[in-house]
Amino acid sequence: MHDDTITPPLILGGKSNRDVTNDIAAPLERNPGQMWWIAFIISFSVMMLGVVAVWYQIATGIGTWGLNKTVGWAFDITNFVFWVGIGHAGTLISAILFLLRQKWRTSMNRAAEAMTLIAVICAGLFPVIHMGRPWLAYWVFPYPNMRGPLWVNFRSPLLWDVFAIGTYFTISAVFWYVGLIPDLATMRDRAKTVFRKTLYRVMSLGWSGSQRTWWRYEVVYLLLASLATPLVVSVHSVVSFDFATAMVPGWHTTIFPPYFVIGAIFSGFAMVMSLMLIARSALDFGAYITQRHVDAVCRVIVFGSCIVGFAYSTELFIAWYSGNEFEQFAFLNRVRGPMSWAYFIMVSCNVVIPQLLWSQRVRNSALLVFIITIAVNIGMWFERFVIIVTSIHRDFLPSSWADYTPTLVEFATLIGSFGLFFTLFLLFCRLFPFIAASEVKAILPRDTEGVH
């Protein structure tokens, strides 16, 4: 911990181990405040709106979405890719930063991982409900059947998605849960009511806190981290194949895998930052989520923003350089066509605005940082929208060119997915330690060590 001597400590307020435990357990042990309830009721009702929309869509038909014979995907897959992207930061922070020994991750990896799981749940929803016959969604799994048997099409990127997302969710879930165990044990020991006692006892899997347990825990955690790392790259690469392997101009692009991955990390960090800033003020974790954390995340965001900007320009250059008339038209149509407004929202939110974060003064203002991260999230949603819709709405045959106008049902579904996201996240804040206490203790500034 040589750097602690020159840079300010990651955890302020000279906390002792006990303080840490108390602080982190506090929000779980006191009754939820008014703020929490308001937030919960709002997000829950928004979620219900989404539920109604989806129910109506499944009962009536995909026709209740603004799609047509030319634009077969729009909000549905946009939302899917968006949420998968959000999911990225979690695994990145917990796995890669862990392997890179980035200590500042400890204050936020727990929340980030939770966010990942919830985001992937939101994402997983869309491939199912975007089907014309969702009640047959199970057909995308290879299972023995009476049809000869009839298998699935392993050449289809959609099928790769099924496996990629599935694996990603499983690993992230395990990783998150394993990391939780020590803190769950702490909660168990502190628990008063019978309900909480049993809940945490069962969930902490008989954690004894013995030297041996700790040692095994460390090993498992390390292994899982290294296991999860490739997934960070793989998942979004596979998602990008949905487009890269298609032949639609604007989709058929080799740059997509890295482009999607970095975009995902970019948006993921932005979302983490937004949540952290809320949590810090709501659960007064000021001492744990400090300016150093904000700075660190902001640097990642600026970095992401630059790479994304680079990707955009590369796309345009390659389109021109390829000399392929369809490719060239596809991108001219993005920039100048009837949907250019979407393209400019995308560029300004993802490339221009985040540049503000170069300045320390901006980074110091929680409000500005918050606004910027929200902008990035909006921008990244539009990035997917632009890629999907502006590419297919005008492709090869001019006779088939069509416009796309979303319907109320689509908007309701989009908002509903945010409702689902925040509902689950709020529940997480209530049930599990928001910060990985055990890990934070490991990085407490030296001068507070041994104080009992």
Partner: protein, 1014 residues
């Protein structure tokens, strides 16, 4: 017995009698009548399985419960010649209009399910009908739906109440006694009906017969009367013409006998080796015929008339004949000069034809044709046409007679004057003074609403009939079904017989009459009986006919005719035109035709006031703005649309819309929160433009001067194509050349100059894919000749009928969710600065059945895969509806079932093809190359051991195409027609550079000109 693949042998009349006794109640796997088409539990198999699909619970429920019980009641005594589940074809004659095209009625389990183009007897595929060859137009194809129209009159009506014929006849006999009977009918091509009518008229002295056509050719007929002393409609032999000049006449689309003309035109367009006929079209708006023209001269109708007059004068001078007096004499421009030159160069091998309802014009046209010696050559008077006989003066006499109280009884047959007369209101008012009005309309319409007695006419698939549309061709119509249990109809002929008190049964009467009038010996038959059965069996007999040739052209004919002045009156000149799919109000209740996109405007479910592009811009009218069209006595509010290729002083409006009874379509299409009704605010589909027509010199003129103002209101059109140009938008076009090279065209000039450049094939040599077709099975392919294709859209409807394609309604089409498996892309090309003279290209577009199909790789559940025979198969019941395949299809030919489209009308469901699954909501569908027909042919060859011959398998589109533009077959056969077509140097594949290896190709469009405007 006939077979479902080809016609092997044929049914006798008597057996057909039994056949028509069979009244099917509904579709049943046994061709018998089930207790209910669904299960007793009220669960269809499909919904049952869907429920079962809901994972565990469903599986358990389904697992333990037996399948829904289905019952089947076999015949008591099965008709000898019917095998349930087999299709039978009867030769018959279409009565969708008066053209009298031949057709085959495909009968399945006792009910007609498809109308097909005519085919010669004996399993041959030869298209040998004297009138229509082997084609059938969109209207003919769709007229099948009228048979299953549940809105038809179920009973005859007396004073608005259901009644029966004995009562009605009794009632009427007293009224007829009062005399003063007028009979108003459309053109009657049936000799027996004419005879019955004569009998009736003779029985009631002083009664009169008036013939009137809503698509009138009166001026043309009058002109021949005036010029040659014969009121005759010559038969236009376009196949014989080298130079064709059409003036305000859509002869390929809607005029008189479009199928016949299109077939002839297509033949004429390719005489020996590439040398094609030259076609100039003079018109005010873009017509289907205009889209095919090599030279298109855009003129208002007034200018058209003057042009004809001038041309007549010029040619007269050229011929050294003193030009008739009083002809207009405009200053000839380049176009006029080249017209004159070309026509003079092709004396005896040219056609000048005009649809303009103006006496002078038609006489002048007759003069020109006579001068050029076209009569007896390209204008056939040996076998003149009886397809139009209407006399506009007659109906005016009737109107005044009624007004003067000179009409006691008025019988209106096969007409709807209260809808399509310009002064319908006046006619209705005059009609009030008529004692009894009898209508034979089979479904309620404007006229039947005002009638005292209604004797509903059966659908033409339910009755016997005969027709002589052109001299020497006797076409017979035989009933393919009897729905008398549902609809108590009686044919006009039977009514006349009853009213004339003639008891002879119809069959006996017809045979007696024909044996007397028809020269059946000329058709080399020993006795009439054998002639008769042959005629019924073949559907048509041709007899050489001898007619006295026309007399000399009377020089006096052109005297004393009125010609319009040189300078235009101010305001717009409105021209009422006809849509290919909706030639008149007759078929306005036909959902298939309403949904059919117009080949020019691409608009379905409605009509519009079309403006010239510049004119619309000047008036600041954007598409869908509702404008008020004003004349001094009336105003019509109608949405406007800009139309390239239209004269800027012209507004053109399609007739046939705004029919009463189209309210029925209010509920067409899915019902959901953002759905909009299919009908307009006033409850009907489209706007009736008929009142804008005028009577002029006793002729029905479909044009007059109007003024226009905006109303500020707006509607959205249901357009199946919204980007019309073949050129990319200027601001997003990569290079200087904005043209998308997806449809190839050239000119005879270019061809002569550098031969046909074998459109540099981009096909890649490297292929990562293994060859799917390493077998000795056929590989199906299709080739479409863009020179022959007129865009008439018959294929679109044929496909819709054959493949159970649903009608989705205005709102869904507007949302670009039309379901047609084959669409006709219509592109404009040319100088954007001169929108008046654009060129038009029609490109039929259906699934290309690519060998490297992009849709196949991306489907996660293998719902679309390649067959051993090169078909791209879509498996509806495997599809989960990700729509990935549609996104990845470069031709955008896949159609998605966004909703469960209503199939509630049980009667209408009888039209469904029992060999094709009705697709449920949420699955993708598309053109299958009519795989059911391929299968049927194979089954048949398996059964009979006869090899399938090239051209035997014809998908619905190929079968019906009037111009034989589409070729289908096995590309592996060296000598097959498709192989030859693919070998043509002008053959090209769309988007070949993508290397998807489509099985569909096209023949480059060749325009017969050196440079544009020549």
């Amino acid at each position: 017995m006939t077979s479902s693949s080809g016609q092997n042998y044929w049914m006798s009349i008597d057996s057909l009698g039994d056949q028509s006794l069979e009244t099917p109640q509904s579709e049943s796997p046994d061709g018998s009548q089930p207790v209910s088409p669904e299960s007793d539990s009220g669960w269809s198999r499909r919904s049952f399985l869907r429920a079962a699909g809901f994972g565990g619970a469903g599986a358990v429920v389904a697992g333990c419960s037996p399948a829904p019980i289905k019952k089947a009641i076999p015949f008591l005594v099965q008709p000898e010649e019917i095998v349930p589940g087999r299709a039978y074809y009867y030769a018959s004659t279409c009565a969708g209009c008066s053209a009298g095209c031949g057709m085959m009625v495909k009968n399945r389990d006792g009910r007609p399910i498809k109308l097909e183009g005519f085919r010669g007897a004996g399993g041959t595929m030869d298209r040998s009908h004297p009138v229509s060859g082997g084609g059938l137009c969109s209207v003919g194809q769709a007229s099948l739906l009228g048979l299953y129209d549940s809105k038809r009159f179920k009973n005859p009506q007396l004073k608005g109440k259901d009644s029966d014929y004995s009562k009605i006849d009794a009632e009427l006999s007293s009224r007829f006694a009062a005399g003063k009977i007028w009979v108003l009918t459309a053109t009657i091509t049936s000799p027996s009906t004419r005879r019955r009518l004569e009998q009736f008229l003779a029985k009631h002295p002083g009664s009169e017969h008036v013939v009137y056509d809503e698509q009138s050719c009166s001026a043309l007929l009058d002109a021949h009367d005036r010029a040659f002393g014969q009121r005759v409609l010559p038969r236009y032999r376009f196949e014989r013409a080298d130079v064709i000049v059409g003036v305000g006449c859509d002869f390929l689309g809607t005029w008189v006998s479009p199928v016949e003309f299109a077939a002839g035109y297509a033949k004429g367009r390719e005489k020996n080796a590439g040398e094609t006929a030259w076609h100039a079209q003079v018109e005010g708006t873009m017509s289907l015929t205009g889209t095919k023209a090599d030279l298109r001269v855009v003129k208002t109708e007034r200018e058209q008339i003057r042009l004809i007059g001038t041309l007549a004068g010029m040619l007269a001078r050229r011929a050294g004949v003193s030009p008739p007096q009083g002809l207009p004499n405009a200053k000839p421009d380049a176009n006029l000069k080249s017209l004159e030159a070309k026509l003079w160069g092709a004396r005896g091998k040219s056609i000048v034809v005009s649809g303009v309802q103006h006496a002078g014009t038609q006489v002048a046209v007759a003069f020109i044709n006579d001068l050029l010696g076209n009569y007896g050559q390209t204008l056939d008077i040996e076998s003149p046409s009886f397809q139009r006989q209407g006399d506009d003066h007659g109906i005016q006499r009737l109107t005044s007679a009624m007004a003067a109280g000179g009409v006691e009884t008025l019988i209106i047959h096969d007409l709807n004057p209260l809808y399509d007369l310009p002064d319908a209101a006046g006619f209705a008012k005059a009609m009030k003074s008529v004692g009894t009005v009898i209508s034979t309309s089979s479904a309620p319409n404007e006229t039947s609403a005002a009638a005292t007695v209604i004797c509903p006419e059966p659908h033409f698939l339910e009755r016997w009939d005969d027709a002589i549309p052109v001299k020497g061709a006797l076409c017979l119509t035989q009933p393919a079904i009897s729905t008398t249990t549902l609809f108590k109809t009686r044919s006009f002929r039977d009514s006349l017989a009853a009213w004339a008190g003639d008891k002879t049964d119809d069959l006996a009467f017809r045979k007696a009459h024909l044996s007397k009038t028809v020269d059946w010996r000329a058709a080399s038959h020993a006795n009439f009986e054998s002639f008769w059965s042959a005629a019924v069996h073949d559907g048509v007999v041709e007899m050489p006919s001898k007619v006295a040739p026309l007399g000399k052209f009377k020089s006096t004919a052109l005297k004393g005719l009125s010609w319009p002045s040189a300078q235009a009156a101010d305001g717009f000149e409105v021209i009422l035109n006809e849509k290919v799919g909706m030639p008149s109000g007759r078929h306005a209740h036909n959902a298939w035709l309403q949904e059919l996109p117009d080949p020019i405007t691409k608009m379905s479910w409605g009509n519009a006031a079309l403006f010239g592009v510049a004119a619309a811009a000047e008036l600041r009218i954007s598409d869908g703005d509702i404008v008020a069209i004003r004349t001094k006595d009336l105003v019509i509010e109608i949405p406007a649309k800009a139309q390239p290729g239209q004269h800027d002083d012209v507004i053109s409006i399609a007739i046939g819309y705004g029919r009463s009874g189209t309210e029925r379509f209010a509920k067409v299409g899915p019902d959901w929160i953002e759905a909009r009704p299919t009908v307009a605010a006033d409850g009907v589909v489209g706007v009736n433009a008929a009142p804008l027509a005028v009577w002029e010199d006793g002729l029905l003129r479909r044009t007059r001067m109007v003024t226009v103002e905006k109303t500020g209101r707006h509607i959205d059109f249901a357009l199946s194509q919204t980007y019309d140009s073949i050129d990319l938008p200027a601001n997003t076009a990569p290079g200087e050349d904005r043209r998308r090279n997806i449809v190839h065209e050239t000119t005879t000039g270019a061809l002569a100059a550098k031969g046909c450049d074998d459109h540099a094939r981009h096909r890649g040599d490297v292929d990562l894919w293994t060859d799917d077709h390493a077998n000795n099975l056929p590989h199906w392919g299709m080739a479409i000749d863009l020179n022959r294709c007129t865009g008439c859209s018959a294929c679109v409807v044929a496909c819709q009928v054959e493949n159970n394609i649903p009608v989705v309604g205005h709102d869904e089409v507007r949302r670009r969710r039309d379901m047609h498996w084959i669409r006709i892309d219509r592109y404009y090309s040319g100088d954007p600065e001169k929108p008046e003279d654009v060129d038009v290209i029609h490109q039929p577009m259906m699934c290309h059945h690519c060998d490297n199909a992009p849709c196949e790789t991306v489907c996660p559940v293998l719902a679309t895969v390649h067959s051993e025979e090169g078909l791209n198969q879509q498996v509806y019941n495997r599809c989960v509806g990700t729509r990935y395949c549609a996104n990845n299809c470069p031709y955008k030919v896949r159609r998605f079932n966004w909703f469960d489209y209503s199939r509630e009308d049980r009667l209408q469901n009888m039209v469904l093809n029992p060999d094709i699954a009705v697709r449920s909501r949420g699955v993708m569908e598309k053109c299958s190359f009519c795989v059911q027909r391929i299968q049927a042919a194979k089954n048949e060859s398996k059964r009979t051991g006869v090899e399938i011959f090239d051209g035997q398998i014809q998908p619905a589109c190929v079968q019906t195409c009037p111009t034989e533009a589409i070729v289908f077959g096995d590309v592996k056969k060296a000598d097959s027609a498709i192989t030859k077509a693919n070998a043509d140097p002008l053959h090209f594949k769309v988007l070949e550079e993508l290397n998807v290896k489509p099985s569909v190709g096209y023949r480059t469009l060749v325009r017969n000109r050196k440079v544009k405007g020549e």
